[in-house]
């Protein structure tokens, strides 16, 4: 049940998405990945991709244009 952070601030699409995909491969089932982004298109494609994998996803706005995407690797 470990928690990992992935800092994608200042990175444009599709870098945050590819990084998220790679990082989640390394994680064990039950772990949580927090992806920090400030690119609006990552706000759309990262949660969309994660939900398609049937992971639990939650998005939290931490500042103007900055978001944390919580992804639980459920399976």
């Amino acid at each position: 049940m470990a928690e990992y952070e992935l800092d994608c601030l200042g990175e444009a699409c599709p870098v945050p998405l590819v990084k998220t995909e790679n990082k989640l491969k390394e994680l064990a089932v039950g772990d949580t990945l927090i992806v920090i982004i400030d690119h609006s298109c990552a706000l759309k494609n990262v949660p969309e991709w994660a939900r398609k994998q049937n992971y639990d996803v939650e998005v939290e706005e931490i500042g103007d244009g900055e978001y944390e995407i919580f992804i639980d690797k459920t399976a």
């Binding site: 601030l9 200042g10 990175e11 599709p14 590819v18 400030d38 609006s40 500042g63 103007d64």
Partner: protein, 181 residues
């Protein structure tokens, strides 16, 4: 009394905060393309004016582009006669920038993003130059040649699409190779 903030308002979320769907975007782009053709007589293009702006600047310093092949067409010559505010495409480009700024301000998403490394700068500069140069020798970018081409039922738009996908494929391979570290 329950305190409600603007950011938790349902309508604010729908209209300003959440990204609109691709279908909504496609419908709006289609409507605006029709409006563009109806009001200006030409299709939507973005990078064409960049060449015109370059020519205006060059002319302001005493240069002449009269004999350049690029400006030899009737529309090319006409564009040289216009000024920024009498050139629909130039004004539209300004509108795109103002509109994008307005949208990001309304969503409270405005932010100066930090530059992560020099590679980002190099990629942006090299990529920008290649895109600009490519768009001019192809007589259009992904808007003027692809989107407007296809919406005018031109085969050239589809040919452009085919090669743009090939370019995007190679580009994404390069991106994964150089930007994933």
């Amino acid at each position: 009394m329950k305190l409600t903030t603007l950011s938790s308002n349902k309508h604010f979320q729908t209209w300003f905060k959440s990204p609109w769907t691709y279908v909504t975007g496609a419908i709006l782009l289609s409507i605006f393309q029709i409006a563009t053709i109806g009001s200006t007589g030409g299709s939507w293009g973005v990078t064409g004016p960049f060449a015109t702006w370059g020519a205006w600047v060059y002319q302001a310093f005493g240069g002449s582009v009269d004999h350049w092949y690029f400006f030899s067409t009737e529309s090319g010559q006409a564009s040289l006669q216009r000024t920024f505010f009498t050139d629909p495409a130039s004004v539209r480009n300004l509108g795109v920038i103002i509109g994008a700024l307005l949208a990001t301000l309304l969503a409270s998403q405005f932010k100066f993003k930090k530059i992560k490394n020099l590679r980002q700068v190099a990629a942006a500069v090299i990529g920008g130059l290649l895109m600009g140069y490519g768009a001019r020798i192809a007589f259009g970018c992904n808007i003027g040649a692809l989107y407007s081409g296809i919406s005018n039922l031109s085969v050239s738009g589809w040919v452009f699409a085919l090669f743009m996908f090939a370019g995007a494929f190679i580009g994404s391979k390069l991106l994964v190779k150089y930007f994933m570290a």
